[in-house]
Symmetry: C2
Subunit: 217 residues, 2 copies
């Protein structure tokens, strides 16, 4: 049975692959699992039919037979547990990779999302610059710690894992800010993720959705 | 082998059980697993020895023989996967419970933490009230969605799970704000979690650390 995920009908980032379906697409590509995509509009996301799938009215969701999942982290973990390629076989290494999954989503992503929201929603406030300095400090603290731990390694803990997959997508949200570039090892790490064939296939697929939506007007 | 976790030497919340070791303590108590606690000071948390355990210099960490884990979500999942009591046996129900773990930490907790940080760090700013209104709106949106989904159920999806454990600890961070109380079913849900004997044992243990630290001066 081929699972179906949901994705934005029209990507708010204009196909830059920053929406959370990108993580799930990339995971599917890494493990070689086919999937279907159902596109939803912003309006549909807040309607009861979608809220039944995703209580918080977001994308992506995952449907496979009787099973419905939400939260990109949970979906990537589900894919990683069912297929080889995203988690080490050794039990301890596997648990450590899962630590990195949670670290990406609960420790590194929140200050990055806050910075994004500050750039978007506070831009016209008189206190924008003062607050942006605080937001940047929080992001830089996390990047500095992450850079220290990564060191000269290719990936966060041994082979590429679902932890790296999520971390790379989280760091990509800083594209254009110049923040990641201050840490050459982190910039190389993100580039290493983006160079993976599975990433490139996933990126092309989500971009094609945006291109098609745009050409239709 | 008895695992060892780290916890604040002196709880910044004065023993209210809002630090992230509470989640792990509660999980251990639910499954009946003994554990040891090593207390760390704020200074020690930023020193190399602790950063080797936790790249972001936080608590809790989890050590068991050769295995070191960090991130409360990952540690709770590790405990839940090794012991009965925190995840359903049915594979689909198990995957759904894990969705709720990620939802608690990646969707519900971030706006609650932001609100806390706003209360703490922006309190003396001239724009505090304007910003607090925005922060409250974000928290209320999530609570409203969560309340809608919970409905009249005792727990988020069938039996009590690690997803509920994390969600209750996340909602407890709003204690004193009056926000959860606006949704009677959510307030009852938190009370139901707090009434569990395992919760009460974990709470008493973390409070005892604070009480001892205080009595020592």
């Amino acid at each position: 049975m081929i699972p179906t995920i949901t994705s934005f009908e029209k990507s708010p980032d204009r196909g830059q692959g920053l929406a959370r379906d990108m993580r799930v697409r990339w995971a599917f590509e890494e493990v070689g699992q086919q999937y279907d995509v159902r596109l939803v509009s912003f309006q549909q996301m807040k309607e009861p039919a979608h809220l039944d799938l995703h209580p918080f009215g977001q994308i992506p969701t995952y449907e496979e037979g009787d099973l419905t999942l939400f939260e990109s982290g949970a979906i990537v973990l589900h894919i990683a547990q069912r297929h080889a390629g995203l988690l080490p076989k050794d039990a301890n290494a596997r648990a450590r990779a899962i630590s990195w999954m949670f670290a990406a989503l609960n420790t590194v992503e929140p200050p990055i999302v806050e910075r994004e929201m500050g750039m978007y929603f506070d831009r016209d406030k008189r206190w924008h610059q003062e607050r942006l300095a605080m937001l940047n400090d929080r992001v830089r603290a996390r990047l500095s710690e992450l850079s220290r731990r990564l060191g000269d390694n290719d990936w966060l803990d041994g082979e590429f894992s679902a932890g790296d997959l999520l971390m790379v997508t989280v760091l990509r949200r800083l594209d254009g800010s110049g923040e990641v570039e201050k840490y050459p090892n982190l910039a190389a790490y993100v580039a290493r993720g983006e160079a993976r064939p599975a990433y490139q296939r996933a990126f092309a697929d989500q971009l094609a959705v945006f291109t098609a939506a745009t050409s239709k007007g």
